[in-house]
């Protein structure tokens, strides 16, 4: 499956200056693996020390937060849009 990935400005310098890239995968987890494979610099923001996805990243599939879908196992379809959104929070 080929999906369109929207990147926040903060990550674009690590992705050749692009705001949108194409990535392959059948799940959100595989798409993220492919983003890091294509642009290793994005690991700074995407990868947690344990190899998973950083907790400061929210991922949306066609505007739905994947935490409320199937998380990293969420299936993606050809032509879907995946948005990477920095999670900025506090109290």
């Amino acid at each position: 499956m080929s999906v369109t990935v929207r990147l926040p400005t903060i990550m674009r310098a690590n992705a050749g200056g692009q705001s949108e890239i194409s990535a392959e995968g059948s799940t959100i987890g595989e798409v993220i693996d492919d983003i890091v494979k294509q642009f290793p610099g994005t690991a700074t923001h995407l990868r947690a020390p344990d190899g998973g996805v950083h907790r400061f990243v929210n991922v949306y599939l066609n505007d739905e937060d994947v935490r409320y879908l199937g998380k990293l196992e969420t299936a993606v379809g050809d032509g879907d849009t995946v948005s990477i959104v920095p999670a900025v929070a506090g109290g």
Binding site: T9, A89, G90, G91
Partner: protein, 141 residues
């Protein structure tokens, strides 16, 4: 030192009151100056996705607004602004823990406290557990 346009100061304070009883949040856009100075030109109000008086999360609208109203004007994101509705303008333990976010390296944490009758705005740089307040100078415009 953070130079802050009066219009941005007014906008963040107004957004903080508008958000009551919840915390309000947004992004600060401007230009860096020297090693650790900056001129903050605009405040971009964002949705508090938590809708809480104790916590905030920038809503997904934040990044589209940042693209349009900050980067689109040739500025950069300088930091995150949020209100404390009943506590002082000092980063909470949650703020300090969240400042370890790799997206926020070098960002300022600007706090608007509504605890007193007059709003109090303060700015901090947080590195690890080190919380350093910086002077805010108001600039006309």
């Amino acid at each position: 030192m953070l130079d802050l346009r009066e219009s941005a100061w007014r906008a963040m304070v107004a957004h903080a009151y508008y958000g009551l009883p919840d915390e309000a949040c947004g992004l600060l856009g401007g230009r860096r100056r020297g090693d650790d100075g900056a001129l903050a030109e605009v405040f971009v109000p964002c949705e508090n996705a938590d809708r809480s008086s104790r916590t905030f999360s920038l809503g997904p609208d934040a990044w589209e607004k940042a693209d349009r109203d900050i980067e689109g004007r040739g500025l950069e994101i300088l930091g995150v602004v949020h209100s404390h509705t009943h506590t002082e303008a000092y980063p909470s333990p949650t703020d300090i823990e969240q400042a370890g976010n790799p997206f926020l390296v070098g960002w300022r944490w600007v706090l608007v406290s509504l605890r007193q009758p007059e709003p109090v705005v303060r700015s901090y740089l947080i590195v690890g557990d080190d919380v350093r307040e910086e002077h805010i100078g108001l600039v006309q415009g």
